[in-house]
């Protein structure tokens, strides 16, 4: 049992803790429950978007459309709430839009075998355009009690509801990944499409599901972004695509797919946010923050690669004795 637990926590969590300790000593105000909760709150939307990206990367592909779906969902919610449409209908409509985009991506990629890059890049452009058109190019503010509660409401202890919601979504997605056939199939397809086919796995169907999930999660992210800012901006999602890719890769799911997983992605995302918070508090200018973040990401990945090589080498040594003795 103990061993299983050890396996389930990705190594990147350790870096999160180290970085947290470092900033706690390096800056005055970093170590406080207020700031910790703020870091978690700031991570929420990127965590959900990155979960979506994890699925696509897990099956050796990329969903470029995540960011635009976020923008469109945020704008849709803002417009509909301002029109007096019940908020629950607005949310359902936004999620349905995400599911539709995901389904189109999935059908074109899985059934018609179009290149995933071309397809998701196209839907990314289309949805980015639609967000701009329906919003008229402007950020649309709104007021809604329920959405305000979602985005800014807190529990008595000062913990935001959005953190709880994100945790629930994350737990559900980790359950899907680790406890369902679909989750296992993602690992198989990413590991080797040929092997998956040889094992009787319906590769197109599972790919379709990946993009469907990805679209839905992106739309949920958009709704939460809108709730937290009480506004729907037509370009709020534009940074999410690349940040999500970074979070996924830092979290231990390589672009070739087949290993890693969602929990790693969560820690990868939090790592980015710890960095952002800590560097700001150290008084480093935003311009330099980006460069420093890049250096840290690169070194993490180098450490990971070296570590992996060492493990493989030791693995070889071990097997060599197992085999012969």
């Amino acid at each position: 049992m103990k061993r299983k637990f050890k396996l389930a926590i990705p190594g990147i969590a350790l870096f999160d803790i180290l970085l947290y300790i470092f900033f706690s000593f390096a800056t005055e105000n970093f170590f406080s429950s207020y700031n910790t909760i703020l870091i978690l709150r700031n991570s929420c939307t990127l965590v959900i978007a990155s979960l979506a990206m994890t699925m696509a990367i897990m099956v050796s592909q990329i969903d470029m459309s995540i960011g635009s779906v976020i923008s469109t969902a945020a704008v849709m919610v803002a417009l509909m709430v301002n029109k007096g449409i019940p908020v629950i209908v607005a949310i359902i409509a936004a999620v349905a839009m995400g599911a539709a985009v995901g389904a189109v991506n999935g059908i074109l990629i899985a059934k018609f075998k179009f290149d995933f890059w071309v397809v998701t890049f196209s839907t990314m452009s289309i949805m980015a355009g639609i967000a701009l058109v329906i919003s008229g190019g402007e950020t649309i503010g709104f007021q809604n009690e329920f959405l305000d509660w979602v985005g800014n409401g807190t529990l008595p202890g000062g913990i935001y509801w959005v953190i709880i919601i994100t945790a629930l979504i994350t737990a559900f997605m980790i359950w899907v990944e680790r406890k369902t056939n679909f989750g296992y199939n993602m690992f198989s397809i990413g590991g080797s499409e040929v092997v998956a086919k040889n094992s009787g796995i319906n590769v197109p169907l599972n790919r379709f599901k990946v993009y469907l999930f990805s679209g839905i999660l992106s739309a949920i992210t958009g709704v939460i972004v809108a709730s937290m800012t009480a506004a729907g901006g037509p370009t709020v999602g534009s940074e999410y695509g690349f940040n999500a890719m970074a979070a996924v890769v830092i979290g231990g799911t390589p672009f070739v797919g087949g290993k890693g997983g969602m929990l790693g992605t969560v820690f990868g995302t939090i790592l980015l946010k710890i960095l952002a918070s800590g560097l700001s508090m150290m008084g480093i200018e935003p311009t330099w923050q980006k460069a420093i973040t890049g250096v840290i990401i690169a070194s993490l990945i180098i450490i990971d690669v070296l570590n992996e090589k060492r493990k493989v080498k030791n693995g070889l040594r071990r097997v060599y004795h197992d085999v012969e003795k």
Binding site: R178, N181, R318
Partner: protein, 504 residues
């Protein structure tokens, strides 16, 4: 051929399959009986793999009928054929390196507990399966940590993880050692008693009599004949298979060896230690041993590819410092890797491009590539090595295994090297092409080349080598001179025995 109609489980007739530009199968038939082994025999490209892929639902047939278990069937995917009780062991390893043994065995058919995947049950079932095959592996081990032979046995376990009525084995022994082959044959016997029908594809002629009941010969996508495997003669089968008579497979002429051109002193590395071996000009030295004994690792380290912990390598009398592949090539060494498709060749590129690949600096000293020398070299080696192709601009991926291997040989000869390490030079190559590769090796040593040949094929080691080293557990456990090379002596060293028993 007469079949016992009550026991027939699979009957295929008139099967035709077209791929763009080729007719892969042309009116082929095949019948399998319960509890018997039907061997499919044929050279590479004869259509054996295509035929079994149609049975398992990976490919769809264009024409013909398939009756399975009393019904006409047409499987659209592997899932359907598995549900019908057809299992397949693939020729290329079909496992996920980053997943555990248990996860691999049940990939795509995970055991469930309600709607949740039940990992515990899968580990337990895997353990039982592995025990039944006599394998003492931990089901939680990742596949990438296993040796190739171990992986192949996991593949067997995977195929047996659901109830099979028909089991297809596509060259299951190509990466197994004799010990595991014996185990596999035991398993086959047990399955036969359980009335499982088996289709067995192999290049190894000696296996046909050992396991087969029927043998169907295919050639160029066509059905040739079906014979009784127990009475069919080896020569008869080979003649049917290649459509012509070939002489003795191993035709070696002995040359008096010259200078020592390759020598290791106390070489120690990742999975081998204290290795002292040498190769002289004009001899083929065999390097035998079980899979996992450290032969390939030794070769890769001697070529500068893997790190060396201590010891030295000398080439043509010069001790090499800071080994690296480029230095070794400059010094006159070439290395034909075990896996030519991923390590030896650039499959989408042409023959001529592959041939100049390792000697770009030699043919294009000013740093710019040009078509002239490339064409010239391509043409030269296509002729010299007798590579079967209309012209040298064809992509290597379209050639058969034997011709691909010749391109790799050509690539190394083009560098001007005089010493070659050949790692499993005839793995997955059909009999006709094998004898050509052996002939080529014989010609090369006659011209003063030295060859170190790593092989898991005992017949090949005995038939081709002038001298043999045997490795066990990372060390050279024995050396056999010309005249002493025989199966029993090699096996004794390969499992760790010492010469005469008193030198230890």
């Amino acid at each position: 051929m007469k079949y016992n109609e009550d026991r027939v489980i699979l009957r295929m007739s008139g099967i035709t399959k077209r791929f763009p530009g080729t007719l892969a199968l042309d009116n082929v038939q095949l019948v399998c009986e319960k509890g018997s082994v039907h061997v499919l025999l044929g050279e590479n490209g004869a259509g054996k793999s295509t035929l079994v892929k149609i049975i398992s639902g990976l490919y769809s047939k264009d024409e013909g009928t398939e009756w399975y278990d009393g019904k006409e069937v047409n499987f659209a995917n592997v899932g359907e054929s598995m549900d019908a009780g057809i299992g397949m062991i693939h020729q290329e390893l079909s496992l996920l390196p980053e997943r555990s043994i248990a996860q691999n065995i049940f990939a795509g058919r995970e055991l469930k507990n309600g709607i949740m995947v039940d990992n515990k049950a899968m580990v337990k079932k895997s353990k039982e399966l592995l025990d039944r095959l006599g394998l003492d592996y931990n089901p939680n081990t990742l596949i990438k940590e296993l040796s190739i032979a171990q992986q192949q046995m996991v593949e067997v376990a995977k195929a047996l993880s659901h109830d099979v009525k028909l089991l297809i084995m596509d060259e299951p022994t190509s990466s197994l050692t004799s010990k595991e082959i014996a185990k596999l044959f035991e398993i086959i016997d047990r399955l036969k008693q359980q009335d499982v029908a088996i289709i067995y594809i192999s290049h190894r002629m000696e296996e046909i009599k050992q396991v087969g009941d029927y043998v169907t010969v295919m050639r160029d996508g066509q059905y040739i004949d079906t014979l009784d495997a127990k009475t069919a003669g080896m020569d008869e089968l080979i003649a049917l298979m290649v459509g012509r008579k070939i002489g003795n497979l191993y035709n070696r002429t002995y040359h008096e060896p010259g200078e020592i051109i390759f020598e290791t002193k106390d070489l120690t590395g990742l999975r081998f230690r204290n290795v002292n071996i040498h190769v002289r000009a004009g001899e083929v030295v065999g390097l035998s041993g079980l899979v996992g004994a450290g032969r390939t690792e030794l070769a890769k380290a001697a070529f500068g590819f893997d790190p060396v912990e201590k010891g030295t390598v000398s080439l043509f009398g010069k001790t090499m410092r800071h080994l690296s592949p480029s230095k070794c090539i400059k010094a006159g060494m070439g290395y034909l890797s075990e896996d030519r498709k991923t390590e030896g060749l650039l499959l989408p590129m042409s023959i001529e491009e592959n041939i100049v690949e390792a000697s770009l600096g030699k043919f294009f000293p000013n740093g710019f590539l040009s078509r002239g020398p490339e064409k010239e070299q391509g043409k030269k080696y296509v002729e010299e090595l007798n590579i079967a192709t209309p012209d040298s601009s064809k992509a290597v991926g379209e050639l058969s295994g034997g011709n691909q291997q010749k391109v790799v040989i050509g690539k190394w000869l083009a560098t001007g090297c005089k010493f070659l390490i050949m790692d499993e030079p005839t793995r997955g190559i059909d009999v006709g092409a094998k004898s050509e590769i052996y002939k080529l090796m014989d010609d090369l040593v006659a011209q003063g080349y030295g060859i170190l040949m790593i092989s898991s094929d005992m017949q090949e080691i005995i038939g081709v080598s002038d001298r043999v080293y045997v490795m066990f557990d990372g060390e050279v456990s024995g050396e056999l001179e010309r005249g002493e090379i025989e199966q029993q002596a090699i096996m004794r060293f390969a499992v760790g025995g010492k010469r005469g028993g008193n030198e230890a």
